[in-house]
Amino acid sequence: MTTSTAKINIATTSLAGCFGCHMSLLDIDERIQDLAEVAVFDRSPFTDIKHCNQSDIGLIEGGVCNAENVHVLREFRKQCNILIAVGACAINGGIPALRNNIPLKECLEESYIDGLGVVNPQIPNDPELPLILDKVYPIHEIVKIDYSLPGCPPSADAICAFITDLLAGREPTLPDELIHYD
C-alpha cells in the first residue's frame, strides 16, 4: 500500500516572480494525476503550508528582492535535498532585475511619491514589511542550487520532462525543442 510518507515531497515557492512558473506547472493538466501518484506538495502556494518540512525537491520561482525572500530561500535550501531555480527570474533576476540599474531611492520615489495617480504619497516603512534589497539577485548568488530550468516561464512540457527525469533518478535535462530563455 502506498502511503503519503512513501511519496516524494515537493516544496515550491514564488519569491520575486509573477507566479507564471507556478501557472505553467499547473499547465501540466492531467499529468498532475500521475505526479500525485508519486509525490505530494509540501510548502507551496498550492497547500498553504507555512514552513518547509524536509523535502526531496524544492522548486524556486523568482529572484531575491527583499529580506523575506532571503529567509524563505534559506529555509528551502536547508530543507530540500535538490533545489531547482525555475524560470528566468530565479536564474538571472528576470524582469524585476530591470530595476538593478536604477538607484533604490529613485525606484521608491517613482513608485510611492512622484508616480502617476499616487494618493497620500509616502514611502512605506511599516516594520511588518520586509526590507527591500538594493538589487534583485539571482538565487544562485544567495544559496547553492542544484539545477536550473530556464524559460519565462518554462513550458509545462519542460517542467514535466525535468521532474520526470528527477523522479526516475536520472540527471535532468531538456530536449532541444524545450530549451528556451523566453
Binding site: 531555480a85 528566468a88 536564474i91 538571472n92 533576476g93 528576470g94 524582469i95 532585475a97 530591470l98 538593478n100 540599474n101 538589487k135 539577485y137 539571482p138 544562485h140 548568488e141 542550487i145 539545477y147 536550473s148 530550468l149 530556464p150 519565462c152 535535462t173 531538456l174 532541444d176 530549451i179 528556451h180 530563455y181 523566453d182
Partner: protein, 241 residues
C-alpha cells in the same frame, strides 16, 4: 603526398589553400560554434568560442589556417564545457533579459546557449550600467546586450566605409562607442541600409519598428538549432556566390 585534407573529430575533409579551419569545416557541413566570426569579414579571433584542439594545442578555428594532416578535436566535452563557461560569462557581463528582448529567438548568443544546453548562469551577474542610444530615427543601440564581437565595427569600416563604431576601454570596462560629434547615433551618418545596422548577432543594434513582425516562437532559432540554421545559410552563401 599533399592531399589538402584535415581530420575533424575523425572525419576527413578537404580544404582550399588559404582557408581557415572554420571555413573548411563549415564548407564541409561541420559546425564549429562561434560568435565573432562572420564569413563576410576578416576573422577577429576574440570570442574564443570556436576554440578547437589542433594536433593537441588549443587554437581559434577562425584564425588558424588549415594545413595538411591536422588532427582537429571539435565536439568533445572539455571544449564544449569551456564554450559553456565563455557563454555564461558573456551573459553575466551584460544585461541579457531575454524575455524582454526583441531579438529573442533570432539571437546567436541565446542560440549558442541552447546548443550548449546552458541552463543556468553559474557566475554572479554584474548588472553593469550601460547607456541605451535611441536618438536615431530608425536604429536602436542597446549596449546592455553588446558582446563586443566588433562585427558592427568591422562592417562599418570595411563595407560601409564610415567608421561609425569602435570599442573603447579594456576588459570589463569595454564600451561600444559611436564616432560622432554628439557621441550618439543621431549625427553619426549611420544609415538604416548600412551593413553595420544589420550585422549584430545579438539584440544590441536593432532596426526600429520591426520588433514583433515575426512572433516569438516562430523565429529562426525557435525552429532550428544554431548548427542546422547556420549550415543552411553558409551553403546558400556558397551557391549564391
Amino acid at each position: 603526398m599533399k592531399t589538402n585534407s584535415i581530420s575533424i573529430d575523425g572525419q576527413q575533409i578537404t580544404f582550399r589553400e588559404g582557408q581557415t579551419i572554420i571555413q573548411a569545416a563549415l564548407e564541409a557541413g561541420i559546425y564549429i560554434p562561434y560568435l565573432c566570426y562572420h564569413p563576410d569579414f576578416e576573422a577577429h579571433g576574440s570570442c574564443k568560442v570556436c576554440t578547437v584542439r589542433v594536433n593537441g594545442s588549443h587554437c581559434s578555428a577562425c584564425t588558424t589556417f588549415a594545413s595538411d594532416g591536422q588532427v582537429v578535436d571539435n565536439h568533445c566535452e572539455d571544449l564544449n564545457s569551456s564554450r559553456r563557461a565563455i557563454t555564461q560569462m558573456l551573459f553575466v557581463e551584460g544585461n541579457h533579459l531575454c524575455p524582454s528582448c526583441e531579438k529573442s529567438g533570432d539571437c546567436e548568443l541565446q542560440a549558442l546557449g541552447y546548443y550548449l544546453k546552458l541552463f543556468g548562469s553559474h557566475f554572479p551577474h554584474l548588472f553593469p550600467h550601460r547607456e541605451v542610444d535611441a536618438t536615431h530615427p530608425h536604429i536602436l543601440l542597446d549596449r546592455d546586450r553588446c558582446i563586443f564581437c566588433e562585427l558592427c565595427v568591422r562592417a562599418s569600416r570595411e563595407v560601409d566605409q564610415k567608421n561609425v563604431f569602435a570599442i573603447s576601454g579594456r576588459g570589463i570596462d569595454s564600451e561600444l562607442v559611436v564616432n560622432s560629434p554628439s557621441g550618439t547615433l543621431l549625427d553619426s551618418g549611420l544609415d538604416v541600409n548600412d551593413k553595420a545596422a544589420h550585422v549584430c548577432p545579438v539584440g544590441a543594434i536593432l532596426i526600429k519598428n520591426q520588433a514583433f513582425q515575426v512572433p516569438i516562437g516562430q523565429r529562426k532559432y525557435d525552429k532550428n538549432r544554431i548548427d542546422d540554421a547556420d549550415l543552411i545559410e553558409v551553403k546558400h552563401d556558397h551557391i549564391d556566390s
